[in-house]
Symmetry: C2
Subunit: 216 residues, 2 copies
């Protein structure tokens, strides 16, 4: 057993429980930017999906495990937001929570889980336990910051899309309308034209673009 400078082993120190909680964001066609909530296992109401960290498990793996268990979504790459450590934040004991954000395409949410999950517009937050309201707020800030830099860093759209689709996605993320012409001039240099155009819609067909390789 390895020892620290004081000569005691790590086992001599009390250790906190560590949880992960995740704000999973997606774009709903009608609701706009939404956050996934799941039924709380104990008691009533809804909460962000979370779980306790298992032994030697990585935080990202714990997030993936909780999202798989509670909404059957997998293969994600959550990003850390911050650690919540307020004493008394969890009445079950000494629990730290590492908040995460994960953004997914709406198609990855399976319909058959709609009894135990729901999507709530970020503009109308409900009442959430623990620090979950703060986590959701932080996640919204985070995704807005990311989308002000790049066209579609979190793949809210498919592989190809028109500038109209991209702009509508940005408007949903940002929560406000964006100017059509300025948006195009900002984004077009960061996209790759496919040479294809849309057909069948109203009005002039639109060019179809892909994400630049750097964004992939």
């Amino acid at each position: 057993m390895f020892r620290d400078g004081s000569g005691r082993t790590l086992a001599d120190y009390p250790r906190p429980s560590v949880a992960v909680d995740t704000a999973l964001l997606t774009l709903d066609r009608s609701l706009g930017l939404v956050v996934l909530e799941v039924r709380r296992p104990t008691g009533r109401g809804w909460a962000l999906p979370g779980t306790f960290l298992h032994e030697h498990e990585r935080l990202a793996d714990a997030v993936n495990r909780s999202l798989w268990d509670k909404a059957h979504i997998r293969g994600l790459r959550p990003r850390q937001l911050q650690v919540f450590d307020a004493p008394g934040r969890d009445d079950r004991g000494w629990v730290l929570s590492v908040a995460h954000i994960q953004v997914v395409h709406a198609s990855r949410l399976e319909d058959r889980f709609h009894d135990s999950t729901r999507l709530v517009p970020v503009t109308q937050p409900g009442r959430l336990p623990f620090d979950h309201a703060e986590i959701a707020k932080s996640a919204v800030h985070n995704i807005r910051s990311r989308y002000s830099d790049e066209p579609d860093p979190d793949h809210l759209l498919g592989d190809s899309f028109t500038l109209r689709e991209l702009r509508l996605a940005h408007e949903a993320v940002m929560g406000r309308e964006l100017q059509r012409d300025t948006f195009r001039r900002t984004m077009e240099p960061r996209l790759v034209a496919t040479g294809e155009t849309t057909a069948g819609g109203r009005g002039r067909p639109a060019e179809v673009f892909r994400r630049a390789a750097a964004e992939s």
Copy 2:
């Protein structure tokens, strides 16, 4: 004892040790932007100051405790950077580390600790154990981001200062020269003039400013 949804108590789950590690940055008159390193208690070499979280202790309090123990600095407000959770990152066992940044005025570093501490320019990083090199790099990115927004959010300077002093601080933080005139025009609206001027130096006396109340 409270129980979770599975009916087991929290005590049934293994828990990780949680450490805090801190990149303490300051401005050295001759070295520029520097990070504080401390002698490692076990073995040789240097590391960022850190400690294990005590029972029911807040992360910020653990940071303050480690900085008081190792460099006799206190009363600080560290900010979280990120959690490091790679398996095997610490050969003493299952240890998560919550990295922090803290920026202080150089005058708060006590000279009598210079045997067990040293200040290393961020431009010439040494070899650091664990994830400490990454923490230091993240801290530099963090302070640069903060100082691109505001005059002196971390109080690297005293209560009052000239625009020259402020610019030299920014140049040290940013690691590059800044334009004198553009810098003034950017910063002056965010400062409060005291009406005083410097005396005794070479050249025309400079106006003395204070931080705006919002920054305080």
